[in-house]
Each structure stands twice: as structure tokens, then as C-alpha cells.
């Protein structure tokens, strides 16, 4: 639920409760005041009545012509209580029942006791009360809706900087070296939030940059000593009459230093792709590239007696750095060769939106989800474990998607142009 909806709902809920309570209280207060007024009048009339009967000893019905005003009932029972009640009486003029407030008491007239009712019509006060309540309710509804809309309108304005910030943070990508430009807000809380976010992002960018630089520098710095080791090993193997033991040691050193140099080169390549240091970008026709690669790697295929099929079902031309396109295809095909059976098959399919490399091979010894991570490799592999990480990085940087799946005992590696999600 949106914050605005939530606050509005709370606001409306409480407002309705409070407004209704006010309306009820108002009703009863008004009613109380009306009754008090009527009852005071009735009591004073009772007093008038008593004075009259005291002086005259009798009450003449004719002396009070107001309809339903006063009523005598002879009564044996009598007490000193004075009782007020509401009652409805038929009005002969209007042919309808009309509310009255009546006071009842007992009085001795002459020698007999009478039960006496004196009444006052409530019709005017009732109307007053009714109209007051209606007016109040209508005003409340109007007031409530006006405040509702005004509040929504104000909230929208007030939350705008927050929403701006949010959408900017959403579209922010650390790997793309962009500034998080948050617009200024005159609301203290939001300005504080923006400040904190800006600070955090700058710190993140700095750390990320440091990390990248470290990888790159470390790899760079390692190149020279590795070059020295390699050179010395090459010198060493020139000597004649090496013993088997010495050859074995040299071999080990050579293998390790070759691995280090491959690793550092791989890491350097990765960080360079990450840093977008490959600036030349042009449209690469993958049909041409695939054909060239198949030719280039021919010896590797025939060595493992692999059957290579190329199915061209479309034209895939993509805007990418040509060297990296080469690396991308190279690593994927090399992978398909490496993890293949002797005498297996490699199928390369090209469509308008990408290409797919399908190969036979043993089932995966690693989780497919982790296969694109650095240094992730199968049990038997002597490789650096960077090949697919490089592939993934290239795909990420240039907007390609890569997907692996295993179907009908075949490994599929599918590279497609990423669908552009507008507004992302």
C-alpha cells in the first residue's frame, strides 16, 4: 500500500469517527438545551396554574383554548412527584401526530384530586434540531472531502522530491560510472536523506573504484615478475644434460608460471571490460565472425574429431567491441571443445537475435547457477576458471543475455540481445 493511500485512509477513518462523535454530542447538547428551555417554561406554567387555582379554587376549561395544552383527569391516587415525559398527540388541524413535552402532577381542586398534564409542542424545537443536525452533517461531508483532496494534493507535492530521489536511486548502477544527481528539496528530512544517499553512493563508488584499480594494478605489477620467471625458465631449459628430476622441477615451475600469467591476463581482461576500457565499438556481423572462428579452430576440432555444424537461420549484427566479440565467441567455443567427448558434436545456431552453441559432453559437475562466477570450474578442468566469467562480463556490459540449459543430453549456451525494457 502506498504511503499516501495509507495516511489518507487513517486520516479519513479517524475523521469520520471524530466527526460523527461531534455530531452525536452536538445533537444531545442541543436536545438537552431545548428540553431544559421547554421544561422551565412548563414549570412556570405549572406555577401559574397553581396560583390560579389557589386564587379561584377552580380551573375553567374554557380559559385556555390552546389545543392539547392542559388536561385534567380526576384521580384518587396522588403524590408530590412532578414527572416530565415525551408524548405524541393528534393534531386536529394538521391531521398528524405531533411531539409534545408534558409535565404531570397531582393537584387538589376543591375536594378532589386531579392528575394534571400541561404540554408544550416540540414541533419547532424538533425541526430546529433536525435542520441543525442535517446542516452539520452536510458541512462535515463537504469539509471531509475538501480536506481529503487538499491533503492528497499537498502530499503529492510534498513527497515529490522523495519520489524523485527514489526513481534516481532505482536507476542508479554502480558499475556505470554515473553521478547520483538528486534534486534539491526544501524539506529538511528529504534534504537530509539526499545528503546521506549522496555520501553513501560516493563512498560506494570510491570503494568500487579502489577495488577495480587494485585488481588491475595487482595484475599489472605481476606481469613483470612472471615475465622474468618465464624468461629464466626458458634460459634454464637451454642447458644440456638436465637430469629427470631437474626436468620435472622445471616443468612444474613452467606450468605454474604459465598459469599465473594466464590468470593475471584473464583478470586484467575482466577488469578492463568492467572499466569499459574497450572504446572502439562497431557493428559486428556474427555470421562472418563465426565462420572465421570455425576456420581458426579447425585443428582443435579435428584433433578431438568433433563434428561441427553451423546453422544460419538469420543475421545477427551487434554493436560491440570487435575484439571482445572475438573473445566472447572464442571462449564459448573453446568451452564447447574442452567439455566435449572425443568424437562429439558442436552445433552453432545463428538467428536474428543472437546465437546458440550446443555441444555434447558429460553432465555438469558444478551448479549451472554458479558457472559464470570467477574461478568456478569443473573437477577435471585445468583452466583458469575465468573463461565464462569473461563471457558473462562482456554480455553484461554490451547488453546481451546469456543462458545455459541442458536438454536432450546436450549443453546449450544461448546468447541473445537483451530485450530493451523501456523506462527501466
Amino acid at each position: 500500500m502506498k504511503l499516501l493511500t495509507k495516511t489518507t485512509l487513517y486520516y479519513l477513518g479517524f475523521s469520520v469517527i471524530i466527526y460523527l462523535s461531534i455530531a452525536v454530542a452536538f445533537y444531545y447538547v442541543t436536545e438537552y438545551l431545548v428540553y431544559e428551555d421547554v421544561e422551565t417554561k412548563l414549570l412556570s406554567e405549572k406555577k401559574d396554574f397553581e396560583t390560579f387555582t389557589e386564587n379561584n379554587g377552580l380551573w375553567y376549561k374554557s380559559c385556555y383554548f390552546v389545543q392539547n395544552k392542559i388536561e385534567f383527569v380526576p384521580s384518587v391516587y396522588h403524590d408530590d412527584k412532578v414527572v416530565f415525559i415525551d408524548t405524541l398527540l393528534y393534531d386536529k388541524n394538521n391531521y398528524q401526530l405531533i411531539p409534545f413535552r408534558q409535565v404531570t402532577f397531582y393537584e387538589k381542586l376543591g375536594s378532589d384530586y386531579y392528575k394534571i398534564h400541561i404540554r408544550k409542542s416540540l414541533i419547532e424545537s424538533d425541526k430546529l434540531l433536525k435542520y441543525l443536525t442535517y446542516t452539520l452533517l452536510i458541512l462535515m461531508v463537504i469539509g471531509l472531502s475538501v480536506t481529503y483532496f487538499v491533503q492528497r494534493w499537498i502530499s503529492k507535492g510534498i513527497w515529490k522530491p522523495f519520489n524523485n530521489t527514489l526513481s534516481k536511486v532505482k536507476s542508479f548502477k554502480l558499475t556505470k560510472e554515473q553521478e547520483l544527481e538528486l534534486s534539491y528539496s526544501n524539506i529538511y528530512e528529504f534534504e537530509e536523506l539526499n545528503g546521506v544517499l549522496n555520501k553513501m553512493v560516493r563512498k560506494m563508488q570510491k570503494d568500487y573504484k579502489n577495488l577495480k584499480e587494485f585488481t588491475q594494478n595487482a595484475s599489472h605489477e605481476m606481469q613483470t615478475p612472471v615475465a622474468l620467471i618465464n624468461a629464466r625458465v626458458e634460459e634454464l631449459i637451454q642447458s644440456k644434460n638436465l637430469t629427470d628430476k631437474q626436468v620435472y622441477l622445471i616443468q612444474e615451475i613452467n606450468n605454474s608460471s604459465n598459469r599465473i600469467s594466464k590468470l593475471t591476463q584473464g583478470l586484467l581482461l575482466l577488469s578492463k571490460i568492467e572499466n569499459r576500457q574497450f572504446q572502439e565499438i562497431k557493428n559486428v556481423d556474427f555470421d562472418v565472425l563465426i565462420k572465421r572462428k570455425i576456420e581458426e579452430l579447425e585443428e582443435l576440432f579435428s584433433h578431438k574429431q568433433l563434428k561441427v555444424e553451423y546453422e544460419k537461420n538469420g543475421n545477427f549484427v551487434f554493436y560491440i567491441n570487435p575484439d571482445l566479440a572475438d573473445v566472447l565467441l572464442n571462449n564459448l567455443i573453446a568451452n564447447a571443445i574442452k567439455h566435449n567427448f572425443f568424437g562429439g558434436t558442436i552445433i552453432i545456431k545463428l538467428s536474428d537475435d543472437g546465437f546458440e552453441i550446443i555441444n555434447t559432453g558429460d553432465t555438469l559437475s558444478i551448479d549451472p547457477k554458479t558457472m559464470f562466477q570467477r574461478f568456478r570450474k569443473g573437477k577435471t578442468s585445468l583452466s583458469t576458471g575465468l573463461g565464462l566469467a569473461i563471457v558473462k562480463q562482456i554480455c553484461d556490459v554490451y547488453g546481451l543475455s546469456i543462458e545455459y540449459y541442458y536438454q536432450n543430453k546436450l549443453h546449450h549456451m544461448k546468447v541473445n540481445r537483451e530485450e530493451l525494457v523501456i523506462g527501466l
Binding site: T224, V226, N230, E234, E235, I237, Y248, Q251, L268, F278
Partner: protein, 225 residues
């Protein structure tokens, strides 16, 4: 043939010098930009090997200076920076080749020789090794003047062997020379073996002696003895 090696890492510079001297090159070594500048102004060299990152300067400046002094000197840049822009820049300002560290000495040797061949005035486009003759322009190989058809890789392999004759070569160096360094595959070493086998067979069929000697556990050596 005089070669100047401008490399601040003394061990590496020494190795390069040892390796090239063995093939009859006269090597001089300097370790700083200033010393290199002095040398190229005083003497002339057939080939200069320049490291880009020197303690007192960037090697590109040396390349530019060299180009002004002597257009015929071959220049090879060696650098720890594999950046393509650096490579392009180096070639644009007049270097003839670019090698990324770490490299194999045999690769550098082959590049130096190819460069010297190209640069030498009226350059021979033929390499002769006993009964084997290679015509570089036509990319053709003759054994005892009989045409010997080789595949592209076999031809490259033979040229590499002859450029590095009498040097022991590791299988990795050969694989890298033939397929570049982006073949991250163990299989390539086995393929080296099968290519060498084919090359040997084709040469010997035409009556060449078997010059390829395998060195147990290390690699191969091309020599006549």
C-alpha cells in the same frame, strides 16, 4: 646485428640479452629512459626493444625520437599493459611490433628476426636451413628444391622452429605462437604434438633430415647435429 634492449627489470633484460646473443645478435642493455636516449643518439642499431614503463619516462617518447634519427631501425615495444589503445598508439607512432608481458623469449626472438628480415635493405625473402628453403613471399617450402605443401599452421610452425633453431622450445610457447594466448584449453598442447608429427612426416617424405628433437618433459628443439 646490433640490438638495444631498454628494460628496467635487470633480470628480464639479461635473459633477453642471453637469448638473442646466442643467435649472434650483439646486445646492449640500458635500464633508464635517459641512458636509452643517449645511446640512440650516439650509435645506430638494427633493432631496439623498448619497455613502455621506464622509471624515468614513458617509452613512447623513445620510439618517436628513434623514428626521427633512423627510419630503418626496427622497434619492438614490450609492455605489461595489454591495452589495445597502447598497442595501437605504439604502432601508430612507428613501432613495428608490440609484445605483451609475460612473453616467451622464443616469441621475441622470432619477432626480432622477422623484423630484421623485413627491415634489411633489399631484404631476402628466403630462409635457407640446409636442404630446407622457405620462400617468405609465396609462403612456400622447398626440400631439396622440391615443393613441399604444408598447412598454414605447419608453415608457421616450421618458420618458428627455424627462427629459434638450436633453442629448446616449450610446448606452451609453441601453442601460444600458433593459436595466440586466448586458447584457454589444455587440448592445444596435444595438438602441438600432432602438428609437429605431421610437419616432420611431410619434410622427411621429401628427403629432409629429422631436425625436430623432442626434449623429454619440456618441448622441442630444432637443430642439426
Amino acid at each position: 646485428m646490433k640490438i638495444l634492449i631498454v628494460e628496467d627489470e635487470k633480470g628480464l633484460s639479461e635473459s633477453i640479452s642471453n637469448h638473442l646473443s646466442k643467435d649472434g645478435f650483439l646486445c646492449e642493455r640500458v635500464f633508464t629512459y635517459a641512458a636509452a636516449e643517449e645511446k640512440i643518439n650516439l650509435y645506430s642499431y638494427d633493432c631496439v626493444i623498448v619497455d613502455i614503463n621506464l622509471p624515468d619516462g614513458i617509452g613512447f617518447g623513445l620510439v618517436e625520437a628513434l623514428k626521427k634519427i633512423s627510419a630503418t631501425t626496427g622497434i619492438i615495444i614490450i609492455s605489461a599493459r595489454n591495452a589495445i589503445e597502447d598497442k595501437i598508439k605504439g604502432l601508430e607512432i612507428g613501432s613495428d611490433d608490440y609484445l605483451t608481458k609475460p612473453f616467451h623469449l622464443s616469441e621475441l626472438n622470432a619477432r626480432v628476426k622477422s623484423l630484421v628480415r623485413r627491415k634489411s635493405f633489399g631484404g631476402t625473402n628466403e630462409i635457407v636451413f640446409n636442404e630446407i628453403k622457405i620462400n617468405l613471399n609465396k609462403r612456400m617450402v622447398y626440400v631439396n628444391d622440391a615443393e613441399t605443401p604444408l598447412s598454414r599452421k605447419e608453415y608457421d610452425l616450421l618458420l618458428y622452429f627455424i627462427s629459434n633453431k638450436e633453442h629448446a622450445l616449450t610446448k606452451e610457447a609453441i601453442a601460444e605462437h600458433l593459436w595466440g594466448d586466448n586458447i584457454d584449453s589444455v587440448d592445444s598442447l596435444d595438438i602441438v604434438y600432432s602438428h609437429i608429427k605431421n610437419l616432420r612426416r611431410k619434410l622427411m617424405e621429401k628427403g629432409a633430415k629429422d631436425y625436430v628433437h623432442s626434449i623429454y618433459g619440456i618441448g622441442y628443439k630444432f637443430e642439426d647435429h
